[in-house]
């Protein structure tokens, strides 16, 4: 081949390599950036005074005097709203019954819109559900509520042969010529004064109990649950996995039985995770009854099975990679086989084994399907270590799914969902980083 063609080919090969790396990096940015940005919304956001009231009520957190002052100012700003509502109610009293009926529905809707934004009116009875005790706690949601207060969202159905068109009608139109006329303009102009926004860094999102099925508060039980499940899976999978790997590499004869065994392990690695979940339910809970209900224990066992093939394969590779000379030297010095495995082979294979373990930890932490039927619940307390044998637990992957699909207030609490997603990704990322660091340190130690 001409030297020139070879050069061009060489360059284009390098170029393709670079291009694919750039594409990968781009894809990562496209994938991770929205997650990070939206996930941070759970931690850093513009909070309203309602948020501070809620924090003080539920978690007894924040500066009381400052809150008092804030609340006083907010109440002063809100007073004209309630005054106007009251004045309108007076007007209603004096109206004829026909006129009153005309306003009944629209006034109810207005009251609800005000309540959604500002929370219970002064003097109202304490609501039994925390979600009804406060107005909007976040400025982004408050903005939506304000819009809902100012405009009626209707659809124009005048042409029944076509889909209706969304129109926003100013709500003030409905109350023209009544005491409420000025309310809308006032609310729009004094929005900030009524809500008193402040930039909040809510790191306690990570350690707070969720309140009222995740509508307020943090995600601590889910984080802890994920931690228990992962740790449990490792406790079950690692001893079994490493021992099997040692057997497969060092002891097993090279016959059809062993190759069949290897095939089984590979097959196990390819089984869909939901199958593990169903197996866990059928075997661990219904057949041998490791616990009466779903529990962390049953979930850990199931996850342990799921990552077992990964642990076996990575340990096998790591053990196989130990140079033959090490083994020969040890045997030559008179050490027995078991001693050689324990003192020479395992320590040299350790970096590889640990990397495998930590990567499977990441897998276990992020799996949803195996824990649906064996461990995960949508609402539950943070567990004490003594409870893991009998109690089920919330866990990040499952709760993300639950919030995304099953929760009755999905749209109001998107930020919680994204906060969970970010937390889970950071958790897995941290695990992988630990793997890298640990591996580097151990290899260095072994060499030195």
């Amino acid at each position: 081949m001409e030297i020139e063609t070879r050069k061009i080919l060489n360059k284009s090969f390098t170029g393709t390599g670079w291009l694919s790396i750039a594409l990968l990096a781009g894809a990562l940015v496209v994938f991770l950036a929205p997650i990070v940005v939206r996930g941070m919304g759970a931690f850093v956001f513009r909070s309203t005074v309602e948020f501070r009231v809620m924090q003080d009520d539920i978690f007894e957190r924040g500066n009381k005097d400052k809150l008092e002052e804030d609340l006083r100012k907010a109440r002063a700003a809100r007073e004209p709203v309630y005054e106007k509502l009251e004045a309108f109610e007076q007007e209603l009293e004096e109206m004829s019954i026909v006129d009153r009926l005309e306003y009944r529905d629209s006034y109810d809707e207005l009251r609800n819109a005000v309540r959604e934004l500002l929370g219970p009116a002064p003097g109202e009875e304490r609501a039994s559900l925390p979600r009804n005790r406060y107005g909007q706690t976040r400025m982004d949601r408050a903005g939506h509520s304000l819009h809902h207060l100012l405009y009626i969202e209707t659809y124009d159905y005048s042409d029944p042969t076509r889909m209706g068109e969304l129109i926003y009608e100013p709500r003030s139109q409905e109350f023209e010529g009544t005491a409420l006329e000025g309310l809308f303009e006032y609310a729009e102009n004094n929005f900030e004064a009524m809500m008193r926004p402040r930039t909040e860094f809510y790191w306690q999102f990570l350690i707070d109990q969720p309140v009222d099925s995740n509508i307020f508060g943090g995600i601590w039980p889910a984080i802890l649950g994920t931690f228990y499940l992962t740790l449990g899976a490792i406790i079950f999978a690692v001893p079994m996995g490493v021992l099997s790997a040692i057997y497969l590499v060092e002891y097993a004869a090279d016959n059809w039985m062993v190759s069949l065994l290897r095939t089984f392990v590979s097959t196990l690695a390819g089984v869909p995770s939901i199958v593990f979940g169903l197996f866990g339910l059928a075997f661990f809970i219904n057949t041998i009854g490791v616990s009466e209900s779903k529990s962390v224990l049953a979930g850990s066992l199931t996850l342990g099975l799921l990552i077992l093939p990964m642990v076996i394969r990575s340990s096998e590779e790591a053990i196989r990679a130990v140079p033959m000379e090490y083994k020969e030297a040890s045997l030559g010095l008179g050490a027995g086989k078991w001693r050689t495995v324990l003192t020479v082979i395992l320590p040299s294979a350790l970096p590889g084994i640990i990397t495998g373990i930590i990567i499977s930890m990441g897998r276990a932490a992020g799996e949803t399907a195996p824990i649906i039927f064996t461990a995960a619940v949508s609402v539950g307390r943070a567990l004490k270590p003594s409870q893991v044998f009998t109690n089920p637990t919330p866990a990040l992957p499952w709760n993300i799914y639950n919030l995304a699909t099953e929760h009755e207030m999905v749209d109001e609490i998107r930020h919680v969902q994204f906060g969970m997603v970010l937390t889970l990704i950071v958790l897995v990322l941290l695990l992988n980083m630990t793997a890298i660091v640990l591996r580097a340190r151990i290899s260095k130690k072994l060499k030195g």
């Binding site: 039994s128 559900l129 029944p160 042969t161 889909m163 001893p239 949508s378 409870q387 699909t405 009755e408």
Partner: protein, 277 residues
């Protein structure tokens, strides 16, 4: 060698840390089942745990069928269901030594929901049945725009699906091109993003993002459900194994709905309290 010993020791320590130490004052209530009853159970759990700090109430929403199965297997204390138990389920329960007792915690209407832009505001039961059976395939056949109908249904494990079968389908089969999803919230999500879609959800899940359609001219509202005027209504159940021991945590939990607080909880999530007060 040292490293290996360390790793082994850490693992061992981990195992022993997890060994249970006596926990006498801890009670747990495990609730599983219907995604419709889920919000009620979650609200009750919130209220109950506030009052009883020693009790851990866990709620999962895996569908009525799974909830009942769990109860039969003794895997939960309360099986929440949005339909009555089937004959086979009763048999299986009794064979397992489980004697189900039903607690009706509230009532619920089942509202057909469409995209808010859809001008169709009223359907008859027969029309809804024919839509789901695949005989009506376009909205213009029921007075709407020329647009194909996307049918969204709950999975067959769901109690909501069971009630829909009984009251709406009345023996006809849901056509094969319907989409099946796993929860009320998922139906709502599908309908609010799909202009030609129709789905059905419990009253507590009808909000501003979807439009509840009147059935036979009657709006799906709590009042119409409580009075029995709205045709697709059902009670919501919590099943326990036998009547719970009086005064136990379980007993207190399944009687929350009889207290004024419980009724206001049911009402504030959008369902209909069973008794009027």
């Amino acid at each position: 060698m040292k490293m290996l010993r360390k790793v082994c020791l850490t693992l061992l320590a981990g195992m022993f840390l997890a060994v249970p130490f006596a926990s006498a004052d801890e009670t747990e209530l495990v609730i599983d089942g219907s995604t419709t009853v889920g919000p009620i159970s979650k609200a009750f759990a919130e209220y109950f745990m506030e009052e009883n700090p020693g009790v851990n109430v866990t709620v999962s929403e895996s569908g009525s069928g799974n909830g009942i199965k769990s109860l039969i297997n003794g895997a939960c204390d309360i099986g929440q269901a949005s339909r009555w138990m089937k004959e086979g389920e009763f048999k299986a329960a009794v064979e397992n030594g489980v004697f189900p007792v039903a607690h009706v915690v509230g009532l619920d209407g089942l509202a057909p929901v469409v995209h808010p832009a859809n001008p169709v505001g009223n359907l008859t039961l027969d029309e809804i049945r024919d839509i789901y059976a695949g005989e009506i395939r376009n909205w213009n056949e029921v007075g709407g725009p020329n647009m194909g109908i996307v049918k969204v249904s709950r999975d067959t494990n769901s109690g909501t699906y069971g009630v829909w079968q009984d009251v709406v389908m009345r023996g006809k089969d849901i056509s094969a091109d319907a989409e099946y999803v796993g929860s009320n919230g998922a139906i709502r999500a599908r309908v609010q993003n799909t202009r030609g879609a129709i789905g059905y959800v419990g009253l507590g899940f009808v909000d501003r993002t979807v439009k509840g359609v009147s059935v036979e001219g009657i709006e799906p509202t709590p009042v119409n459900t409580a009075t029995g005027r709205y045709p697709i209504a059902r009670p919501l159940y919590m099943f326990t194994n036998g009547y719970p021991e009086l005064g136990s945590a379980l007993h207190r939990f399944v009687t929350i709905h009889m207290t004024p607080v419980g009724q206001s909880l049911v009402e504030s999530i959008g369902f209909v309290p069973q008794t009027q007060y």
